[in-house]
Symmetry: C2
Subunit: 342 residues, 2 copies
Amino acid sequence: MDATVKVLEAVASRFDLNLAMTSALMGGAAIDATGEPLPAATLDQCRASDAVLLACIGGYKWDDLPRATRPETGLLALRKQLGLFANLRPAKSFAQLEGASSLKDEVVNGVDLMVVRELTGGVYFGTPKGIDTDPSTGARVGYSNMVYHDYEVQRIARVAMDIAMKRGKAVVSVDKANVLEVSQLWREEVIKVAADYPEVDLSHMYVDNAAMQLVRWPKQFDVLVTGNLFGDVLSDCASMLVGSLGMLPSASLGDGSGPGVFEPVHGSAPDIAGQDKANPVACVLSAAMMLRYALAETDAADAVEAAVEAVLNAGWRTGDIMSDGKTLVGCKRMGELLVEAV
Amino acid sequence: MDATVKVLEAVASRFDLNLAMTSALMGGAAIDATGEPLPAATLDQCRASDAVLLACIGGYKWDDLPRATRPETGLLALRKQLGLFANLRPAKSFAQLEGASSLKDEVVNGVDLMVVRELTGGVYFGTPKGIDTDPSTGARVGYSNMVYHDYEVQRIARVAMDIAMKRGKAVVSVDKANVLEVSQLWREEVIKVAADYPEVDLSHMYVDNAAMQLVRWPKQFDVLVTGNLFGDVLSDCASMLVGSLGMLPSASLGDGSGPGVFEPVHGSAPDIAGQDKANPVACVLSAAMMLRYALAETDAADAVEAAVEAVLNAGWRTGDIMSDGKTLVGCKRMGELLVEAV
Ligand SMILES: CC(C)[C@H](C(=O)O)[C@@H](O)C(=O)O
Ligand SMILES: CC(C)[C@H](C(=O)O)[C@@H](O)C(=O)O
């Protein structure tokens, strides 16, 4: 985040943007300071802003806390409270990173897909949920209901269709309609919405097959639209096409009445925390998405993305994307290089 | 299945096994003949057998039937009725198929992992489930409850631990315990069972990360144990490590009081049905698992697996695993070659 703020300052100065940035605590840092993963003051501050740029929120230290005070609970609450039902996770291969993926070059070269993940519904938020213990036998049962309302499916389907219209006009909706009632509703509602987009080629794929197809031949995809849990899994799977989670930004958007949240797809990587090893690019590219989608500063967004390309072209690499003949740098230095490129 | 039955006949004659094989209708074929995807007569016949070898069950023709009479419903009923809670899906790379995977050779060479998937619980069978329509507004909601009882988790965890003891003694349990209550119960119960297996190295991974790690560096895995839905997705993902679903067998086992079901991981591939293009190896290797696990005919199982190796070594390939310099054959010819090799 430090690196990203500096990149934003640089781009603001270059394009004469009046970017007022404030910071607020969330996740582990907020738990340490206030006992809560999403303090009310933080939520208020987010609501009072045009956009929220989010760093990573967890770590070993907070892993054994009860569910209500875990960092992840704060993240889910932020998404829900801000009504961020649409999570956009682009996966675009970088020509400069040829060789970085575990997949063959011919499989990933030129991949350019967008996972549109529903973010405030499904099994993440459905009720009933809980763990019950039978008082007489001690037997336990855990349950989390996967629920979708028609309007939830419709609005995320519209987001996917609108995005597809600006891209390759092809949407694959991913579900498990051969087994799950909730997926049957999902599929029926997506089909209804698609009627308003005659130019978009809509097809359906079961989630098991989609995971496989993403690995087998990802270039078949333009836009994927899916539920919260399936999107969580498929977007992580898709990240491997690019070579590293360290390159992947995301945007979480609502109906436009409040701020969106922009964050890297990766987690806090507690195993390398504080070692100056992290790749700042995912966070920097999330800031570019923020400039583009939330602030409508297209030139500034383009400049940030061009800076990433330039730094990669010049051969600079963090450890996660390092390869023969390139120059290894830490997080801080990578950030400085990006600032210089802007 | 035709090819597999011939291989079984050959191996029975070589090892003087008294294999009594009968056949019964299920899925699409059963729907056409009786209107039901799993006729009672078929279930009775399965129950009266020592093992069930299952071919694929669906196709375009039956895709639009109501849920109760779809082919998949018959498959789920067979698993549930026979109490087949443990689905074993090995993914082992074949040296002969070097180059067949979309992943780099150094990533997949030597992969040998086992996905142990819970098969009769979770969101596939949980209640409540359904689609409700509000009579006044017409608004609809779909829901499928992901449910696990402690004993369901314990017994599948034991299966995974027992298998790990015969392999690399490492189990990764996959869940989404940072979000889902049902996963929290899952993790707690797996940890309890692991106490009885001090030699097994147990770790936990979130499902999104597991999907990514399977693609990033699959050799880190020995045994994965997970719930029904996560196992469905991860095992399809893992299949890509081997290069083709056409190579992947599976076993579905219960508590030993009734027959197990052995079936290829792949579906019926209606797009190539009847064209003599399918790879019979997954079904043949499922028969080998049947010989090994259900009939305790280890030598016969070894012979079938050796036949597959021999045919691959000799350069014979179906279309899904074809590469330069190899000889392309159809399903029928591949079956004959396997029979000859046995
Ligand atoms: C941290 C976790 C709650 C979160 C999720 O599952 O949504 C993360 O995996 C993500 O994808 O943003
Ligand atoms: C056909 C379908 C019901 C089935 C499942 O989801 O279990 C299949 O995908 C499988 O993995 O065996």
